[in-house]
Amino acid sequence: MTSKGPEVSEPLIRLEHVTKQYHGVKEPAVRDLSMDVQPGEILVLVGPSGCGKSTTLRLINRMIEPTSGHIYYEGEDVTKVDPNALRRRIGYVIQQVGLFPHRTIAENVATVPKLLRWPKKRIKERVDELLELVSMDPSIYRDRYPNELSGGQAQRVGVARALGADPDVLLMDEPFGAIDPITRDRLQNEFLRLQSELRKTIVFVTHDIDEAVKMGDRIAILREGSEIAQLERPEVILTEPADEFVENFLGSGAVLKTLTLRRVRDIELAPMVTLRKPVHRGQALQAMSDAGVGTAVLLDDQEHPLRWIDERALNSSERAIESAGRPITVQVQPEDTLQDALSAMLTTSSGMAVVVDARGKYLGGCTIESLASLLLTAGNGSSSS
């Protein structure tokens, strides 16, 4: 399947003229909304606070009942199905996670499979499988309790739990909203990696347009009453906003936001001069002048990048080479957007950023030049690759 742009096929979820009106409130929370969700896509619902995006999400798994209209899941009208059975087929992830504090991590993740009466052995295997999937070593975390986890870890378990019975659909309500920006970034990347493996259908609610652009295959920008202002692929929205509301919501950085559409893995990584301990001054200088660069990367024996070593550091004999230069504090991963790469490059003030894989091993470097050339060759307008 292509990376962006879903196949046009039978929609997995269809909302038809759905309205939700609360008693005593004048305006409906959701007004006459019609929308399709294609299988395998991440559809992001984004909009200002109170626009009804969470309400719309929760109509799909009948946490809230629609006042009128129809919602179809896999062709069935959801209001005609037992709500509890429905919810066991759909994964649900919320901002505060809501792990059961009185149960272990393993028991939490096993919740839906247990409800569906899977055999014990299968449940155990599934739990281990899921914890691995979200990068949490089962042997460590199986028997821990939620109160021992950090926010980021808790949400990983939340995602694992939602995937428990292997639902086709995940509903996610601002899942990374309560997490610090650094961890959020990492979780977003990991989630995208996961999605590329699992290919679930996901409806994702956020108020953060940057997150929407990063995560979404298609984005629905919502006005009050959950009215769709524009529903399109991110690059289309960014370059051709439908109206003033969308423009205002995107904010002034819309053009720069196109940087968030491409990822580091789209750039060709520049091979950099790498040094390993013990560093031989003469050889290092030679290698650097051969390559025509002024800076090299020092790796440790697990191939993790440690420091930038430049010529001046090599030439000064005052300190040991291994502690010369500057430590590498910012690293970039292939799933990171070009925007992340750009800010990494700016912090090192060397026009370069080091790229590592999921385990922190060195992959290569990316330079400002390669970034610029990618943007320039792509030109403006929608890109599809």
Binding site: N61, M63, N84, R88, Q95, H102, N147, L171
Partner: protein, 224 residues
């Protein structure tokens, strides 16, 4: 000390009586706590979604505690006679509030996001109640049960006035025979054994709490 050794002597001479009295008090505590506990938990669970009936049941239960013990023990006598029954009724009515209040508060204190995620995963309301809410509210409920049990031990001494038996018998007989020998010992027997019984029951319930609370939530709720 003389006093203590004479007390031990007194006890050993009447061990069967002491045993009976302890047993009677224990019967009150067990039956009352179970009955009141059952009622309180049922009412607490039934009213958990309706603010008004919840507050109403709490108000009614607390009014009972306002009525003086002597009055509550004796007021039903014209209807049910003397002995175990009026004592049980009075102790039962007293024991309801602590358990009810803690059941209500414990259920209210469950993190709403836990309830949201439980619903979202497809647990029925009944399953949510049994698998999530009650286990999480249990430590608080148990604290209420402890208070009820201790309350019952203390107040049950009055049962002797309506021929209900219990450790109060010793106090009554001691009072009646003052200043004859052994009257003081009788009184102390009633008082001290009540305290010891209370401590024992408290300890037992504390241990029960330890065993029935999963470590994920231990230390989160404190009793008064």
């Amino acid at each position: 000390m003389e006093g203590i050794s004479s007390w031990f002597e007194y006890l050993s001479e009447r061990w069967d009586l002491v045993f009976t009295a302890l047993g009677e008090t224990l019967v009150y505590v067990v039956t009352v706590t179970l009955a009141a506990g059952l009622l309180a938990v049922i009412v607490g669970v039934a009213t958990r979604h309706h603010a008004f009936s919840k507050e109403l049941s709490l108000a009614i239960a607390s009014v009972f505690l306002t009525i003086p013990s002597l009055a509550l023990f004796t007021i039903f006598i014209p209807l049910v006679g003397l002995g175990f029954v009026p004592s049980f009724i009075a102790l039962f009515l007293y024991a309801i509030l602590p358990i009810l209040r803690n059941t209500t508060a414990g259920l209210e204190a469950v993190d709403p996001s836990v309830l949201e995620s439980a619903k979202g995963m497809g647990l029925t309301p009944g399953q949510t109640l049994m698998q999530v809410q009650l286990p999480l509210a249990w430590p608080v409920m148990l604290a209420g049960i402890r208070v009820s049990a201790l309350l019952t031990v203390g107040i049950s001494a009055i049962a002797t006035l309506v021929a209900g038996g219990g450790l109060g018998d010793f106090i009554k007989s001691g009072l009646a025979r003052l200043p004859l020998p052994n009257s003081l010992e009788a009184i102390w027997t009633g008082v001290l054994l009540s305290v010891l019984l209370a401590l024992a029951i408290d300890g037992a319930l504390l241990i029960l709490g330890r065993f029935t609370t999963p470590s994920g939530i231990r230390g989160k709720s404190k009793s008064a």
